[in-house]
Point group: C2
Chain length 490, copies 2
């Protein structure tokens, strides 16, 4: 649906003074309250060059407390940024709880520029727009209000402003050096922008069109929209309420964990031989990976005591330490807690050529957070689609994903817990929490089964590893990784 430009009436300087004097204290008061609220605000600022985006950035910083506003201007991607999925740099810059993020030249600008330059096929263009909608819906669902401002001026006004500029060289600094571009590309930009505005004008994050042909009018319009957004952000309840649960993707019939055959074993002799062979093979492949534009992500989930640590150690045992990185995800830090739950996983994405290993992962959302009630039902139900989308983005930027569920029986777990308590230097591995989790075996089992069913996708499938026998499990993990790498590297 195309967003509409509401006709507004010009204001006199006196009216402006009066109305802005009424707005500003309310804006500051609302902004001060936001600081301790459970929500954040993301502002996108769009419009043709010359529409006064810079002036609006300054206005917002002037009318609000600038310490609570992070203005982020996105320019060409640096090489670190180019080596990650396109959304990576935006994720890094998302505002934390209580703050306002002001994005200037953001995911919208990228795709307009690429499309106008002819670098983006229609299908990719559409997919990128849909991805933006998905991301914004996700942010809104977790209490980040998204205010999208589009500053509108007509072609005549653009021309008029450029002429004024030509005549007043002392104003040149207001424009980027490439100051004649806006007119040359006006028609193409307009078409692309209009399509973008229609397709991303969603219910949860609509575009707000601002008539920017006159400054006073524009400032008041921006001020009012800001106030409306801030007040809406303050009214938000905790993210668990409000949002409707998303439809759950089901990719497979449910897998019963109880049906997993846990009997496979590997004797030490065979284990030793297979370990050596597969480690060498993996080391070879890791150098090939380093020379390629691809990377590898291995996700390890499993019961407490299932042997994640041991499997990870065998996996990296033959790898050059420069080529891999193990990140253990325990409780989030306060910075992480103040962001969307996926933020900390975006944060540690590796550059191409490298191997990232997640010891526990973003699946915590649908496992421990679900079982312990840290995430409400609407939240974890929504998470399956969000996680699939996250992994899809990784796959599109050439990440090979291997996901392991290390499965043991409750009896085997008990045996291992007891053994850990007996061995002095393994005692640190077992805590009261492990025993508590064990009591909730059934709840965890249901969560795992749902996870396997709903996130087992073609580009990022799960491997359920029978792990009652450690030898067997370790080789199984190594073999799977070797196989997946061979598929893409050879």
């Amino acid at each position: 649906m195309k967003p509409q430009l509401k006709p507004v009436r010009p204001v006199t300087p006196e009216e402006y003074d009066e109305q802005s004097a009424g707005l500003r204290p309310r804006l500051l008061a609302a902004h001060a309250k936001l600081r301790t609220a459970n929500s954040s605000v993301l502002i996108h600022l769009g419009g043709v060059d010359g529409a006064g985006k810079g002036a609006v950035v300054r206005l917002i910083n002037d009318w609000l407390d600038p310490r609570g506003v992070s203005t982020v201007a996105f320019d060409l991607a640096t090489d670190d940024e180019q080596r990650r999925p396109p959304m990576w740099r935006y994720w890094q810059a998302l505002p934390s709880r209580g703050r306002i993020g002001l994005f200037f030249g953001s995911w919208y600008r990228d795709i307009v520029v690429e499309r106008v330059n002819g670098d983006l096929k229609r299908k990719v263009f559409e997919r990128r727009m849909d991805r933006i909608n998905t991301l914004e819906r996700m942010l809104v669902a977790e209490n980040t209000l998204v205010l999208k401002l589009w500053l509108h001026i007509g072609k005549d006004e653009v021309r008029h402003r450029l002429e004024h500029l030509e005549e007043n060289p002392e104003l040149h600094w207001r424009w980027l050096p490439k100051k004649l571009e806006p007119l040359e590309f006006y028609r193409e930009s307009k078409e692309v922008s209009e399509e973008l505005l229609s397709r991303t004008n969603t219910r949860h994050a609509p575009w707000r069109m601002v008539d920017a042909s006159e400054n006073r009018m524009r400032n008041l319009a921006v001020g009012r929209l800001l106030l409306e957004t801030l007040e809406a952000a303050l009214r938000l309840k905790s993210p668990s309420q409000g949002a409707k649960p998303a439809p759950i993707p089901k990719t497979l019939p449910k897998r019963r964990l109880a049906a997993v055959d846990l009997t496979p074993k590997l004797d030490d002799d065979w284990y030793g031989r297979k370990l050596e062979r597969n480690q060498h093979r993996l080391a070879d492949l890791s150098w090939k990976l380093a020379d390629s534009r691809r990377s590898l992500l291995c996700v390890f989930e499993g019961w407490d005591g299932a042997g994640k640590g041991g499997a990870i150690r065998r996996l990296v045992g033959s790898l050059d330490p420069r080529l891999f990185n193990v990140t253990s995800y325990a409780a989030p830090t306060d910075e992480e807690r103040a962001h969307h739950y996926l933020w900390r996983f975006w944060r540690h994405l590796q550059a191409p050529g490298r191997i990232a290993i997640f010891d526990r992962s973003h699946y915590g959302r649908v496992l421990v957070e679900r079982v312990e009630g840290f995430a409400a039902e609407t939240q974890w139900k929504r998470a399956y689609a969000e996680i699939n989308d996250f992994e899809q983005q990784l796959v599109e930027s050439k990440v090979v994903i291997c996901k392991f569920w290390l499965h043991i029986s409750p009896e085997e777990q008990l045996r291992r817990f007891k053994k850990r308590e007996e061995v002095p230097f393994k005692r640190y591995k077992i805590t009261a929490e492990d025993w508590r989790n064990r009591d909730k075996w059934n709840a965890h089992e249901a969560a795992v089964e749902d996870m396997l069913q709903r996130t087992h996708t073609v580009p990022a499938p799960w491997t359920v590893v029978p792990a009652n026998d450690k030898n067997f499990a370790r080789i199984e993990v190594l073999k799977t990784v070797v196989r997946e790498l061979e598929k893409v590297l050879e």
Copy 2:
């Protein structure tokens, strides 16, 4: 002083099993305790290629709980890294409290490689070594123990290992592709390394030489040094105790704040004209800066109510939002608190071409933290030299630094506080804390005077701005920045 290689006796496999079985539980127990301790450990791993550094990385991850160890392998700097001071990327990776950072190819490798390649003049080489010593002393003083392991093997052993490798192609993956380099550069590397080892073999962070010619012997030696270091880390008291206060650099005679002339005023008419002229000038210069390899850092400190926010707004008023970034430093987050106090300032350094504005800054250490007792006397006394060194590194990577102290009288502050309480939309600016700080005016004044005296350096001087008149102060700030930029850009 040259570090010594202690002669050790080879161990039999049986002795090895027995001794490692004794070591490992103690290592794990110490590592488990470190998690909740008030200290961290940084391990540097050095030695010629082929000495078995990769194997030692794996050993450490195997003998300790790998979740508490961050192994960071530094390779060529990315362009984001090249655009910052050389130490920037290492600062990003320093271990937080309770953790072990294992640096593989770190600040030591950089300078050996550059020196062997002839890219580093003797004087620069020496300065870089001294800087390493300074940084390590600083880390040790704040409870990061630094364990520097140098794996030693003789030239014959290197040759022997290479020959063994030639004959066993299945082992090739253990070596980087450039596997013949070690011998070619052996002599030069050895000379450079020996000088490096001598000069950086300090009392607070000595090199520990490990005979790496035989694996069992090497493993046990590494294990024992690790245990010794972990146990020392656990014995550390809070950083305030222990360390001796550093000698305080005095660059200037003490400046009495009371002697600052606070009468200068600027009427609104003149102010308007000067504001416009200087803002245009600055906007011009900011584009020139963007084209240069330089950047600008403006530090704002001053009394509560002195008008930092207003001065910052006028300073950036004419700037393109893509060119600057304002960071407000309030209380640190928990991730920041778990690092050295300078970590969060390193974290937000801008790339060249940009303007960074710090609203409050690293000077908090010698101002509010001193006055409120958050930093002990030894800590804030040490901080003057640490801050000067930090700024010196910025200056060396072409950052222009302008530091402002906005000065008002206690009477003017009282007037402003009262006025803020009267104006509804300014009320958010004044808190109980502001009134409490006011009661400690004298203590703050002494801290400011010490700061001005001890950190007013040639490359990074302070500007004390009389700010009883806001017009005057804002123009003074703008003029100073314009003048400093003109010096380097024109």
